[in-house]
Protein backbone atom coordinates (compact mmCIF):
# COMPACT_ATOMS: atom_id res chain seq x y z
CA UNK A 1 0.00 0.00 0.00
CA UNK A 2 2.82 2.37 0.84
CA UNK A 3 4.35 1.96 -2.61
CA UNK A 4 1.05 3.15 -4.09
CA UNK A 5 1.52 6.55 -2.51
CA UNK A 6 5.07 6.60 -3.78
CA UNK A 7 3.88 5.93 -7.31
CA UNK A 8 3.93 9.36 -8.89
CA UNK A 9 1.22 8.57 -11.45
CA UNK A 10 -1.24 7.38 -8.83
CA UNK A 11 -0.53 10.41 -6.68
CA UNK A 12 -0.99 12.96 -9.46
CA UNK A 13 -4.13 11.19 -10.67
CA UNK A 14 -5.66 11.04 -7.20
CA UNK A 15 -4.92 14.70 -6.44
CA UNK A 16 -6.54 15.94 -9.66
CA UNK A 17 -9.54 13.61 -9.36
CA UNK A 18 -10.22 14.54 -5.72
CA UNK A 19 -9.99 18.22 -6.60
CA UNK A 20 -12.49 17.68 -9.42
CA UNK A 21 -14.86 15.85 -7.10
CA UNK A 22 -14.65 18.67 -4.56
CA UNK A 23 -15.24 21.29 -7.27
CA UNK A 24 -18.21 19.33 -8.59
CA UNK A 25 -19.70 18.76 -5.14
CA UNK A 26 -19.36 22.40 -4.12
CA UNK A 27 -20.16 23.88 -7.53
CA UNK A 28 -22.63 26.47 -6.17
CA UNK A 29 -19.95 27.74 -3.78
CA UNK A 30 -17.07 27.58 -6.25
CA UNK A 31 -18.73 29.07 -9.31
CA UNK A 32 -18.75 32.89 -9.34
CA UNK A 33 -21.99 33.07 -11.37
CA UNK A 34 -25.10 31.14 -12.30
CA UNK A 35 -23.98 28.83 -15.15
CA UNK A 36 -27.17 29.28 -17.16
CA UNK A 37 -27.76 32.99 -16.52
CA UNK A 38 -27.97 34.78 -19.87
CA UNK A 39 -26.74 38.37 -19.93
CA UNK A 40 -26.75 40.09 -23.30
CA UNK A 41 -24.75 43.02 -21.89
CA UNK A 42 -21.59 40.93 -21.49
CA UNK A 43 -21.53 38.76 -24.61
CA UNK A 44 -18.16 37.33 -25.76
CA UNK A 45 -16.07 39.13 -23.17
CA UNK A 46 -12.42 38.16 -22.82
CA UNK A 47 -11.21 36.88 -19.44
CA UNK A 48 -11.44 39.53 -16.72
CA UNK A 49 -11.58 39.81 -12.94
CA UNK A 50 -15.37 39.43 -13.00
CA UNK A 51 -15.30 36.59 -15.56
CA UNK A 52 -11.94 34.79 -15.14
CA UNK A 53 -12.46 32.61 -18.25
CA UNK A 54 -14.54 35.18 -20.16
CA UNK A 55 -18.15 34.90 -21.29
CA UNK A 56 -19.79 33.00 -24.15
CA UNK A 57 -22.07 34.21 -26.96
CA UNK A 58 -24.99 34.46 -24.55
CA UNK A 59 -23.05 36.30 -21.89
CA UNK A 60 -22.78 33.28 -19.61
CA UNK A 61 -19.77 32.92 -17.33
CA UNK A 62 -17.49 30.26 -18.83
CA UNK A 63 -15.74 29.46 -15.55
CA UNK A 64 -19.06 28.78 -13.83
CA UNK A 65 -20.19 26.59 -16.73
CA UNK A 66 -16.97 24.60 -16.54
CA UNK A 67 -17.37 24.16 -12.77
CA UNK A 68 -20.92 22.85 -13.17
CA UNK A 69 -19.83 20.85 -16.22
CA UNK A 70 -17.54 18.81 -13.95
CA UNK A 71 -20.69 17.38 -12.36
CA UNK A 72 -22.03 16.18 -15.70
CA UNK A 73 -18.76 14.69 -16.91
CA UNK A 74 -17.98 12.85 -13.67
CA UNK A 75 -21.56 11.63 -13.41
CA UNK A 76 -21.57 10.32 -16.97
CA UNK A 77 -18.14 8.72 -16.55
CA UNK A 78 -19.02 6.95 -13.30
CA UNK A 79 -22.53 5.94 -14.41
CA UNK A 80 -21.29 4.48 -17.69
CA UNK A 81 -18.59 2.48 -15.96
CA UNK A 82 -20.95 1.24 -13.23
CA UNK A 83 -23.44 0.07 -15.83
CA UNK A 84 -20.73 -1.56 -17.92
CA UNK A 85 -19.19 -3.20 -14.85
CA UNK A 86 -22.50 -4.66 -13.81
CA UNK A 87 -23.29 -6.12 -17.23
CA UNK A 88 -19.69 -7.15 -17.85
CA UNK A 89 -19.22 -8.90 -14.50
CA UNK A 90 -22.54 -10.76 -14.66
CA UNK A 91 -22.11 -11.95 -18.26
CA UNK A 92 -18.36 -12.51 -17.91
CA UNK A 93 -18.90 -14.64 -14.79
CA UNK A 94 -21.61 -16.74 -16.38
CA UNK A 95 -19.45 -17.16 -19.43
CA UNK A 96 -16.24 -18.05 -17.64
CA UNK A 97 -17.52 -20.07 -14.72
CA UNK A 98 -20.26 -22.11 -16.33
CA UNK A 99 -18.90 -22.32 -19.87
CA UNK A 100 -20.77 -24.37 -22.45
CA UNK A 101 -23.53 -22.89 -24.56
CA UNK A 102 -23.86 -19.77 -22.38
CA UNK A 103 -20.17 -19.07 -22.91
CA UNK A 104 -20.51 -19.46 -26.68
CA UNK A 105 -23.53 -17.21 -26.95
CA UNK A 106 -22.09 -14.48 -24.71
CA UNK A 107 -18.73 -14.48 -26.42
CA UNK A 108 -20.28 -14.22 -29.88
CA UNK A 109 -22.33 -11.31 -28.57
CA UNK A 110 -19.11 -9.67 -27.37
CA UNK A 111 -17.50 -10.29 -30.77
CA UNK A 112 -20.50 -8.68 -32.44
CA UNK A 113 -20.26 -5.54 -30.33
CA UNK A 114 -16.50 -5.36 -30.83
CA UNK A 115 -16.87 -5.70 -34.58
CA UNK A 116 -18.23 -2.18 -34.90
CA UNK A 117 -15.59 0.50 -34.17
CA UNK A 118 -16.67 1.92 -30.80
CA UNK A 119 -17.19 5.51 -31.85
CA UNK A 120 -19.41 4.48 -34.79
CA UNK A 121 -21.52 2.23 -32.56
CA UNK A 122 -21.86 4.88 -29.84
CA UNK A 123 -22.66 7.56 -32.39
CA UNK A 124 -25.24 5.47 -34.23
CA UNK A 125 -26.93 4.44 -30.96
CA UNK A 126 -26.88 7.91 -29.40
CA UNK A 127 -28.01 9.41 -32.69
CA UNK A 128 -30.94 7.09 -33.31
CA UNK A 129 -32.08 6.87 -29.68
CA UNK A 130 -32.25 10.67 -29.69
CA UNK A 131 -30.37 13.32 -27.72
CA UNK A 132 -30.26 13.30 -23.91
CA UNK A 133 -28.02 12.20 -21.08
CA UNK A 134 -29.64 8.80 -20.47
CA UNK A 135 -29.44 7.81 -24.14
CA UNK A 136 -25.84 8.99 -24.19
CA UNK A 137 -25.07 6.70 -21.25
CA UNK A 138 -26.84 3.74 -22.87
CA UNK A 139 -24.82 4.26 -26.05
CA UNK A 140 -21.54 4.37 -24.13
CA UNK A 141 -22.39 1.35 -21.98
CA UNK A 142 -23.05 -0.56 -25.20
CA UNK A 143 -19.44 0.01 -26.28
CA UNK A 144 -17.82 -0.33 -22.84
CA UNK A 145 -19.25 -3.49 -21.27
CA UNK A 146 -17.47 -5.87 -23.61
CA UNK A 147 -14.01 -5.26 -22.20
CA UNK A 148 -15.19 -6.07 -18.66
CA UNK A 149 -16.94 -9.23 -19.80
CA UNK A 150 -13.76 -10.37 -21.54
CA UNK A 151 -11.40 -9.60 -18.67
CA UNK A 152 -13.69 -11.18 -16.08
CA UNK A 153 -14.15 -14.29 -18.19
CA UNK A 154 -10.42 -14.58 -18.83
CA UNK A 155 -9.50 -14.18 -15.18
CA UNK A 156 -12.11 -16.69 -14.07
CA UNK A 157 -10.88 -19.23 -16.60
CA UNK A 158 -7.36 -18.92 -15.24
CA UNK A 159 -8.39 -19.12 -11.59
CA UNK A 160 -11.09 -21.78 -11.92
CA UNK A 161 -8.82 -24.75 -12.49
CA UNK A 162 -6.35 -23.91 -9.74
CA UNK A 163 -5.83 -26.25 -6.83
CA UNK A 164 -7.28 -24.04 -4.14
CA UNK A 165 -10.56 -23.78 -6.01
CA UNK A 166 -10.66 -27.51 -6.63
CA UNK A 167 -9.93 -28.10 -2.95
CA UNK A 168 -12.75 -25.80 -1.87
CA UNK A 169 -15.11 -27.61 -4.19
CA UNK A 170 -13.93 -30.92 -2.79
CA UNK A 171 -14.86 -29.68 0.66
CA UNK A 172 -18.40 -29.25 -0.59
CA UNK A 173 -18.53 -25.50 -1.22
CA UNK A 174 -21.27 -24.17 -3.48
CA UNK A 175 -20.69 -22.39 -6.80
CA UNK A 176 -21.77 -19.09 -5.29
CA UNK A 177 -19.42 -19.47 -2.35
CA UNK A 178 -16.49 -20.28 -4.62
CA UNK A 179 -17.29 -17.34 -6.87
CA UNK A 180 -17.64 -14.76 -4.13
CA UNK A 181 -14.98 -16.04 -1.77
CA UNK A 182 -12.24 -17.22 -4.11
CA UNK A 183 -12.73 -16.03 -7.64
CA UNK A 184 -13.93 -12.43 -7.30
CA UNK A 185 -10.99 -11.32 -5.12
CA UNK A 186 -8.67 -12.63 -7.83
CA UNK A 187 -10.27 -10.73 -10.67
CA UNK A 188 -10.71 -7.45 -8.86
CA UNK A 189 -7.36 -5.86 -9.71
CA UNK A 190 -7.50 -6.06 -13.51
CA UNK A 191 -11.09 -4.85 -13.36
CA UNK A 192 -10.17 -1.82 -11.25
CA UNK A 193 -7.45 -0.88 -13.72
CA UNK A 194 -9.61 -1.01 -16.82
CA UNK A 195 -12.49 0.66 -14.98
CA UNK A 196 -10.27 3.63 -14.10
CA UNK A 197 -9.01 3.97 -17.66
CA UNK A 198 -12.59 3.37 -18.83
CA UNK A 199 -13.94 6.37 -16.91
CA UNK A 200 -11.46 8.58 -18.76
CA UNK A 201 -12.47 7.10 -22.08
CA UNK A 202 -16.19 7.46 -21.30
CA UNK A 203 -15.74 11.14 -20.38
CA UNK A 204 -13.82 11.76 -23.60
CA UNK A 205 -16.38 9.95 -25.77
CA UNK A 206 -19.31 11.62 -24.00
CA UNK A 207 -17.79 15.03 -24.66
CA UNK A 208 -17.27 14.09 -28.32
CA UNK A 209 -20.86 12.97 -28.77
CA UNK A 210 -22.21 16.05 -26.96
CA UNK A 211 -19.98 18.15 -29.18
CA UNK A 212 -21.73 16.62 -32.20
CA UNK A 213 -25.09 17.40 -30.58
CA UNK A 214 -26.04 13.82 -29.67
CA UNK A 215 -25.46 13.95 -25.94
CA UNK A 216 -26.28 16.37 -23.19
CA UNK A 217 -28.41 19.21 -24.51
CA UNK A 218 -28.04 22.96 -23.98
CA UNK A 219 -28.46 24.96 -21.81
CA UNK A 220 -27.04 22.27 -19.46
CA UNK A 221 -23.37 23.16 -19.09
CA UNK A 222 -21.45 20.28 -20.63
CA UNK A 223 -17.83 20.60 -21.76
CA UNK A 224 -18.31 19.04 -25.18
CA UNK A 225 -21.37 21.08 -26.07
CA UNK A 226 -19.60 24.23 -24.80
CA UNK A 227 -16.95 23.58 -27.44
CA UNK A 228 -19.70 23.25 -30.01
CA UNK A 229 -21.13 26.60 -28.88
CA UNK A 230 -17.74 28.24 -29.27
CA UNK A 231 -17.17 26.89 -32.77
CA UNK A 232 -18.89 29.77 -34.54
CA UNK A 233 -17.06 32.41 -32.52
CA UNK A 234 -13.65 30.89 -32.87
CA UNK A 235 -12.12 33.87 -34.65
CA UNK A 236 -13.57 36.51 -32.38
CA UNK A 237 -13.36 34.75 -29.05
CA UNK A 238 -10.96 31.78 -29.11
CA UNK A 239 -10.97 31.54 -25.29
CA UNK A 240 -14.50 30.06 -25.49
CA UNK A 241 -12.89 27.00 -27.02
CA UNK A 242 -9.71 26.92 -24.97
CA UNK A 243 -11.01 26.38 -21.43
CA UNK A 244 -13.62 23.62 -21.89
CA UNK A 245 -11.11 21.64 -23.96
CA UNK A 246 -8.51 22.07 -21.26
CA UNK A 247 -11.01 20.86 -18.67
CA UNK A 248 -11.75 17.69 -20.65
CA UNK A 249 -8.07 17.01 -21.21
CA UNK A 250 -7.04 17.46 -17.57
CA UNK A 251 -9.87 15.23 -16.35
CA UNK A 252 -9.14 12.44 -18.81
CA UNK A 253 -5.42 12.80 -18.13
CA UNK A 254 -6.02 12.35 -14.39
CA UNK A 255 -7.89 9.06 -14.92
CA UNK A 256 -5.18 7.88 -17.30
CA UNK A 257 -2.49 8.73 -14.74
CA UNK A 258 -4.35 6.83 -12.03
CA UNK A 259 -5.14 3.87 -14.27
CA UNK A 260 -1.55 3.60 -15.50
CA UNK A 261 -0.19 3.82 -12.00
CA UNK A 262 -2.63 1.23 -10.67
CA UNK A 263 -1.73 -1.12 -13.48
CA UNK A 264 1.95 -0.83 -12.62
CA UNK A 265 1.26 -1.56 -8.97
CA UNK A 266 -1.38 -4.25 -9.29
CA UNK A 267 -0.42 -6.32 -12.26
CA UNK A 268 2.55 -8.40 -11.15
CA UNK A 269 3.05 -9.68 -14.69
CA UNK A 270 3.36 -6.17 -16.00
CA UNK A 271 5.76 -5.25 -13.23
CA UNK A 272 8.01 -8.17 -13.96
CA UNK A 273 8.09 -7.92 -17.73
CA UNK A 274 8.54 -4.23 -18.15
CA UNK A 275 11.17 -2.63 -15.99
CA UNK A 276 10.59 0.90 -14.80
Amino acid sequence: MRSWIKNRNILIGLIIISSLIIIAAFAPQVAPHDPTEVNSMVRLQPPSKEYPFGTDHMGRCILSRIVYGARISLLVGVAVISGSLFIGIVLGTISGYFGGLADDVIMRLVDGFLAIPSMFLALALAGTLGPGMVNLMIALIAVEWTSYARVVRGSILSVKEQDFVEATRGLGASDLYILVRHILPNIISPVIVIATLGIGYAILAAAGLSFLGFGVQPPTPEWGSMLDDGRLFMRKAPYIMVFPGLAIMITVLAFNFLGDGLRDEMDPRFRKEIPH
Binding site: D111, G112, F113, I116, M119, L121, L129, G208, M241, M249
Partner: protein, 315 residues
Protein backbone atom coordinates in the same frame (compact mmCIF):
# COMPACT_ATOMS: atom_id res chain seq x y z
CA UNK B 1 -1.94 -22.44 -39.04
CA UNK B 2 -4.63 -23.19 -41.60
CA UNK B 3 -6.83 -24.61 -38.87
CA UNK B 4 -6.33 -21.44 -36.88
CA UNK B 5 -7.28 -19.22 -39.82
CA UNK B 6 -10.38 -21.20 -40.66
CA UNK B 7 -11.42 -21.19 -37.03
CA UNK B 8 -11.06 -17.41 -36.92
CA UNK B 9 -13.08 -16.98 -40.11
CA UNK B 10 -15.80 -19.26 -38.75
CA UNK B 11 -15.97 -17.22 -35.56
CA UNK B 12 -16.42 -14.02 -37.56
CA UNK B 13 -19.65 -15.18 -39.15
CA UNK B 14 -21.92 -15.04 -36.08
CA UNK B 15 -20.39 -11.68 -35.15
CA UNK B 16 -21.18 -10.24 -38.55
CA UNK B 17 -24.69 -11.65 -38.44
CA UNK B 18 -25.15 -9.91 -35.11
CA UNK B 19 -23.74 -6.67 -36.53
CA UNK B 20 -26.24 -6.87 -39.39
CA UNK B 21 -29.07 -7.17 -36.87
CA UNK B 22 -27.80 -4.15 -34.90
CA UNK B 23 -27.34 -2.11 -38.07
CA UNK B 24 -30.73 -3.04 -39.40
CA UNK B 25 -32.56 -2.31 -36.15
CA UNK B 26 -31.26 1.28 -36.09
CA UNK B 27 -34.50 2.36 -37.78
CA UNK B 28 -36.58 0.84 -35.02
CA UNK B 29 -34.47 2.18 -32.16
CA UNK B 30 -35.49 5.68 -33.11
CA UNK B 31 -38.59 7.03 -31.41
CA UNK B 32 -41.52 7.64 -33.78
CA UNK B 33 -42.47 6.30 -37.17
CA UNK B 34 -39.60 6.75 -39.64
CA UNK B 35 -41.94 7.34 -42.58
CA UNK B 36 -43.83 10.07 -40.75
CA UNK B 37 -40.68 11.79 -39.50
CA UNK B 38 -39.00 11.72 -42.88
CA UNK B 39 -42.01 13.16 -44.68
CA UNK B 40 -42.52 15.91 -42.11
CA UNK B 41 -42.38 19.28 -43.83
CA UNK B 42 -42.60 22.89 -42.63
CA UNK B 43 -46.26 22.91 -43.76
CA UNK B 44 -47.14 20.26 -41.19
CA UNK B 45 -47.64 16.52 -40.89
CA UNK B 46 -47.82 14.44 -44.05
CA UNK B 47 -51.15 12.96 -45.16
CA UNK B 48 -51.82 9.30 -44.28
CA UNK B 49 -51.86 8.48 -48.01
CA UNK B 50 -48.40 9.95 -48.48
CA UNK B 51 -47.08 7.95 -45.51
CA UNK B 52 -48.55 4.73 -46.87
CA UNK B 53 -47.15 5.39 -50.32
CA UNK B 54 -43.70 6.04 -48.86
CA UNK B 55 -43.88 2.87 -46.78
CA UNK B 56 -44.74 0.75 -49.77
CA UNK B 57 -42.02 2.39 -51.85
CA UNK B 58 -39.34 1.81 -49.19
CA UNK B 59 -40.63 -1.66 -48.25
CA UNK B 60 -41.53 -0.49 -44.74
CA UNK B 61 -45.02 -2.05 -45.01
CA UNK B 62 -43.65 -5.59 -44.68
CA UNK B 63 -43.20 -7.43 -41.36
CA UNK B 64 -39.85 -6.60 -39.72
CA UNK B 65 -38.24 -10.00 -40.24
CA UNK B 66 -39.19 -9.92 -43.93
CA UNK B 67 -37.66 -6.48 -44.21
CA UNK B 68 -34.53 -7.69 -42.47
CA UNK B 69 -34.10 -10.82 -44.58
CA UNK B 70 -34.73 -8.89 -47.77
CA UNK B 71 -32.23 -6.22 -46.70
CA UNK B 72 -29.64 -8.83 -45.74
CA UNK B 73 -30.10 -10.65 -49.03
CA UNK B 74 -29.63 -7.40 -50.95
CA UNK B 75 -26.65 -6.33 -48.87
CA UNK B 76 -24.87 -9.64 -49.44
CA UNK B 77 -25.27 -8.96 -53.14
CA UNK B 78 -23.80 -5.48 -52.74
CA UNK B 79 -27.12 -3.65 -52.88
CA UNK B 80 -27.45 -1.36 -49.86
CA UNK B 81 -30.70 0.23 -51.02
CA UNK B 82 -31.39 3.85 -51.75
CA UNK B 83 -30.84 6.91 -49.59
CA UNK B 84 -34.08 8.29 -48.13
CA UNK B 85 -32.77 11.78 -48.76
CA UNK B 86 -30.93 11.84 -52.07
CA UNK B 87 -32.68 8.70 -53.42
CA UNK B 88 -29.31 7.65 -54.82
CA UNK B 89 -27.77 4.20 -54.20
CA UNK B 90 -26.31 3.92 -50.68
CA UNK B 91 -23.48 1.70 -51.95
CA UNK B 92 -22.21 4.55 -54.16
CA UNK B 93 -22.17 7.00 -51.28
CA UNK B 94 -20.36 4.50 -49.05
CA UNK B 95 -17.71 3.65 -51.62
CA UNK B 96 -17.07 7.28 -52.40
CA UNK B 97 -16.65 8.30 -48.78
CA UNK B 98 -14.66 5.20 -47.92
CA UNK B 99 -12.14 6.19 -50.56
CA UNK B 100 -11.76 9.60 -48.90
CA UNK B 101 -11.36 7.92 -45.49
CA UNK B 102 -8.73 5.53 -46.84
CA UNK B 103 -6.77 8.42 -48.28
CA UNK B 104 -6.84 10.35 -45.02
CA UNK B 105 -6.08 7.23 -42.95
CA UNK B 106 -3.06 6.46 -45.08
CA UNK B 107 -1.53 9.90 -44.55
CA UNK B 108 -2.48 9.84 -40.84
CA UNK B 109 -0.80 6.47 -40.48
CA UNK B 110 2.40 7.91 -41.93
CA UNK B 111 2.21 10.87 -39.54
CA UNK B 112 1.61 8.44 -36.69
CA UNK B 113 4.55 6.16 -37.54
CA UNK B 114 6.97 9.01 -38.17
CA UNK B 115 6.13 10.56 -34.80
CA UNK B 116 5.73 7.48 -32.63
CA UNK B 117 8.46 5.01 -33.57
CA UNK B 118 11.42 7.40 -32.98
CA UNK B 119 9.81 8.70 -29.77
CA UNK B 120 9.21 5.18 -28.46
CA UNK B 121 12.76 4.10 -29.27
CA UNK B 122 14.19 7.22 -27.68
CA UNK B 123 12.16 6.72 -24.51
CA UNK B 124 13.30 3.10 -24.19
CA UNK B 125 16.96 3.80 -24.92
CA UNK B 126 17.04 6.74 -22.53
CA UNK B 127 15.07 4.68 -20.01
CA UNK B 128 14.46 6.39 -16.64
CA UNK B 129 15.86 9.73 -17.74
CA UNK B 130 14.10 13.03 -18.21
CA UNK B 131 13.74 12.22 -21.94
CA UNK B 132 11.86 9.03 -21.09
CA UNK B 133 9.62 10.95 -18.69
CA UNK B 134 8.87 13.60 -21.28
CA UNK B 135 8.03 11.02 -23.95
CA UNK B 136 5.74 9.13 -21.58
CA UNK B 137 4.05 12.32 -20.47
CA UNK B 138 3.63 13.40 -24.08
CA UNK B 139 2.02 10.06 -24.89
CA UNK B 140 -0.39 10.40 -21.96
CA UNK B 141 -1.35 13.87 -23.17
CA UNK B 142 -1.81 12.41 -26.63
CA UNK B 143 -4.36 9.82 -25.49
CA UNK B 144 -6.14 12.30 -23.21
CA UNK B 145 -6.56 15.24 -25.57
CA UNK B 146 -10.00 15.35 -27.20
CA UNK B 147 -9.32 15.17 -30.93
CA UNK B 148 -12.08 17.65 -31.73
CA UNK B 149 -10.36 20.14 -29.45
CA UNK B 150 -6.96 19.45 -30.92
CA UNK B 151 -8.49 20.02 -34.35
CA UNK B 152 -9.63 23.47 -33.31
CA UNK B 153 -6.30 24.41 -31.81
CA UNK B 154 -4.65 23.44 -35.11
CA UNK B 155 -7.22 25.38 -37.14
CA UNK B 156 -6.80 28.37 -34.86
CA UNK B 157 -3.02 28.37 -35.25
CA UNK B 158 -2.47 27.33 -38.85
CA UNK B 159 -5.62 28.60 -40.55
CA UNK B 160 -6.85 31.57 -38.55
CA UNK B 161 -3.66 33.20 -37.24
CA UNK B 162 -0.95 32.07 -39.67
CA UNK B 163 -3.31 31.60 -42.63
CA UNK B 164 -1.11 28.85 -44.06
CA UNK B 165 -3.69 26.11 -44.51
CA UNK B 166 -7.39 25.96 -45.37
CA UNK B 167 -9.81 25.73 -42.42
CA UNK B 168 -11.70 22.78 -43.88
CA UNK B 169 -12.81 21.11 -47.07
CA UNK B 170 -11.78 18.48 -49.56
CA UNK B 171 -10.06 20.77 -52.02
CA UNK B 172 -9.34 19.48 -55.47
CA UNK B 173 -10.21 15.81 -54.99
CA UNK B 174 -8.66 15.73 -51.54
CA UNK B 175 -5.31 17.43 -52.03
CA UNK B 176 -2.47 17.42 -49.54
CA UNK B 177 -3.07 20.99 -48.40
CA UNK B 178 -6.53 20.08 -47.12
CA UNK B 179 -5.26 16.84 -45.66
CA UNK B 180 -2.47 18.13 -43.44
CA UNK B 181 -4.50 19.31 -40.43
CA UNK B 182 -6.93 16.35 -40.23
CA UNK B 183 -4.02 13.95 -40.74
CA UNK B 184 -2.06 15.54 -37.90
CA UNK B 185 -5.15 15.42 -35.66
CA UNK B 186 -5.75 11.74 -36.36
CA UNK B 187 -2.10 10.76 -36.56
CA UNK B 188 -1.00 12.20 -33.23
CA UNK B 189 -3.68 10.51 -31.17
CA UNK B 190 -2.81 7.10 -32.57
CA UNK B 191 0.90 7.95 -32.31
CA UNK B 192 0.52 8.24 -28.54
CA UNK B 193 -0.59 4.62 -28.30
CA UNK B 194 2.03 3.39 -30.72
CA UNK B 195 4.86 5.20 -28.95
CA UNK B 196 3.95 3.57 -25.65
CA UNK B 197 3.84 0.16 -27.24
CA UNK B 198 7.16 0.74 -29.03
CA UNK B 199 8.76 1.79 -25.75
CA UNK B 200 7.59 -1.16 -23.69
CA UNK B 201 8.30 -3.61 -26.48
CA UNK B 202 11.88 -2.38 -26.88
CA UNK B 203 12.38 -2.36 -23.11
CA UNK B 204 11.25 -5.94 -22.96
CA UNK B 205 13.58 -6.92 -25.79
CA UNK B 206 16.47 -5.12 -24.07
CA UNK B 207 15.97 -7.18 -20.92
CA UNK B 208 16.45 -10.50 -22.73
CA UNK B 209 19.47 -12.73 -22.27
CA UNK B 210 20.68 -12.43 -25.85
CA UNK B 211 21.14 -8.70 -25.32
CA UNK B 212 23.41 -9.41 -22.36
CA UNK B 213 25.34 -11.80 -24.60
CA UNK B 214 25.56 -9.23 -27.36
CA UNK B 215 26.83 -6.62 -24.92
CA UNK B 216 29.18 -9.11 -23.30
CA UNK B 217 30.87 -9.86 -26.56
CA UNK B 218 31.62 -6.17 -26.82
CA UNK B 219 29.26 -5.09 -29.58
CA UNK B 220 28.75 -1.33 -29.74
CA UNK B 221 25.47 -0.19 -28.17
CA UNK B 222 24.23 1.04 -31.55
CA UNK B 223 24.35 -2.47 -32.98
CA UNK B 224 22.99 -4.08 -29.83
CA UNK B 225 19.93 -1.86 -29.97
CA UNK B 226 19.55 -1.40 -33.71
CA UNK B 227 20.24 -4.92 -34.84
CA UNK B 228 19.45 -7.22 -31.95
CA UNK B 229 16.82 -5.56 -29.82
CA UNK B 230 14.92 -3.47 -32.34
CA UNK B 231 14.45 -6.36 -34.74
CA UNK B 232 12.55 -8.31 -32.13
CA UNK B 233 10.85 -5.30 -30.64
CA UNK B 234 9.38 -4.43 -34.03
CA UNK B 235 7.45 -7.70 -34.27
CA UNK B 236 4.42 -6.11 -32.59
CA UNK B 237 4.57 -3.47 -35.33
CA UNK B 238 1.80 -5.36 -37.03
CA UNK B 239 -0.27 -5.02 -33.91
CA UNK B 240 0.67 -1.36 -33.95
CA UNK B 241 -0.90 -1.08 -37.37
CA UNK B 242 -3.95 -2.84 -36.02
CA UNK B 243 -4.23 -0.52 -33.03
CA UNK B 244 -3.79 2.47 -35.31
CA UNK B 245 -6.59 1.24 -37.45
CA UNK B 246 -9.10 1.29 -34.63
CA UNK B 247 -7.89 4.70 -33.57
CA UNK B 248 -8.05 6.12 -37.05
CA UNK B 249 -11.56 4.83 -37.74
CA UNK B 250 -12.91 6.01 -34.38
CA UNK B 251 -11.19 9.36 -34.68
CA UNK B 252 -12.50 9.76 -38.21
CA UNK B 253 -16.02 10.34 -36.91
CA UNK B 254 -15.42 13.73 -35.33
CA UNK B 255 -12.29 14.74 -37.23
CA UNK B 256 -13.79 14.28 -40.68
CA UNK B 257 -16.89 16.12 -39.64
CA UNK B 258 -14.94 19.12 -38.28
CA UNK B 259 -12.69 19.39 -41.32
CA UNK B 260 -15.50 18.75 -43.77
CA UNK B 261 -13.60 15.76 -45.11
CA UNK B 262 -16.20 13.70 -47.02
CA UNK B 263 -15.22 10.34 -45.52
CA UNK B 264 -17.28 7.59 -43.92
CA UNK B 265 -17.27 9.28 -40.49
CA UNK B 266 -18.66 12.45 -41.99
CA UNK B 267 -21.22 10.38 -43.92
CA UNK B 268 -22.47 8.66 -40.76
CA UNK B 269 -22.74 11.90 -38.77
CA UNK B 270 -24.62 13.61 -41.60
CA UNK B 271 -26.96 10.70 -42.20
CA UNK B 272 -27.79 10.61 -38.49
CA UNK B 273 -28.56 14.34 -38.55
CA UNK B 274 -30.86 13.73 -41.53
CA UNK B 275 -32.28 10.47 -40.20
CA UNK B 276 -31.28 8.83 -43.43
CA UNK B 277 -31.67 5.29 -42.09
CA UNK B 278 -30.67 3.31 -45.14
CA UNK B 279 -27.35 5.17 -45.20
CA UNK B 280 -26.82 4.64 -41.43
CA UNK B 281 -27.60 0.92 -41.72
CA UNK B 282 -25.38 0.44 -44.72
CA UNK B 283 -22.38 2.40 -43.48
CA UNK B 284 -22.34 0.84 -40.00
CA UNK B 285 -22.46 -2.64 -41.51
CA UNK B 286 -19.83 -1.73 -44.09
CA UNK B 287 -17.41 -0.22 -41.58
CA UNK B 288 -17.83 -3.26 -39.30
CA UNK B 289 -17.05 -5.68 -42.12
CA UNK B 290 -13.94 -3.70 -43.06
CA UNK B 291 -12.88 -3.49 -39.41
CA UNK B 292 -13.34 -7.21 -38.82
CA UNK B 293 -11.49 -8.23 -41.97
CA UNK B 294 -8.57 -5.91 -41.25
CA UNK B 295 -8.36 -7.13 -37.65
CA UNK B 296 -8.32 -10.69 -38.91
CA UNK B 297 -5.46 -9.90 -41.29
CA UNK B 298 -3.57 -8.22 -38.44
CA UNK B 299 -4.11 -11.22 -36.13
CA UNK B 300 -3.07 -13.75 -38.72
CA UNK B 301 0.07 -11.89 -39.72
CA UNK B 302 0.97 -11.44 -36.07
CA UNK B 303 0.61 -15.13 -35.43
CA UNK B 304 2.67 -15.80 -38.51
CA UNK B 305 5.41 -13.39 -37.51
CA UNK B 306 5.56 -14.54 -33.94
CA UNK B 307 5.73 -18.34 -33.83
CA UNK B 308 5.84 -18.29 -30.03
CA UNK B 309 2.15 -17.50 -29.80
CA UNK B 310 1.16 -19.69 -32.72
CA UNK B 311 0.56 -22.78 -30.65
CA UNK B 312 -0.54 -21.11 -27.49
CA UNK B 313 -3.82 -19.89 -28.87
CA UNK B 314 -6.56 -21.92 -27.38
CA UNK B 315 -9.45 -19.62 -28.09
Amino acid sequence: MLAYISKRILLIMPALLFVSIISFSMVYLAPGDPAEILLMSPEGSPSPEAIDAFRVRMGLDQPIYVQYLRWLDNVIHGDFGYSYMSERPVADAIMKSFKATLKLSFVSMIVSIVVSIPLGIMAAVKHNTIIDDLCRFGALIGVSIPNFWQAFLLILLFSVYLDWLPVAGYGDGGDLKHMILPAITLGTSSAAVTARLMRSSLLEALSQDYIITARAKGLPEKIVIGKHALKNALIPVVTILGLNLGFLLNGAVVTEWIFGWPGIGDLVVDSIYQRDYTVIQGSILFIAVIFVILNLIVDISYTYLNPRIRYEIVD
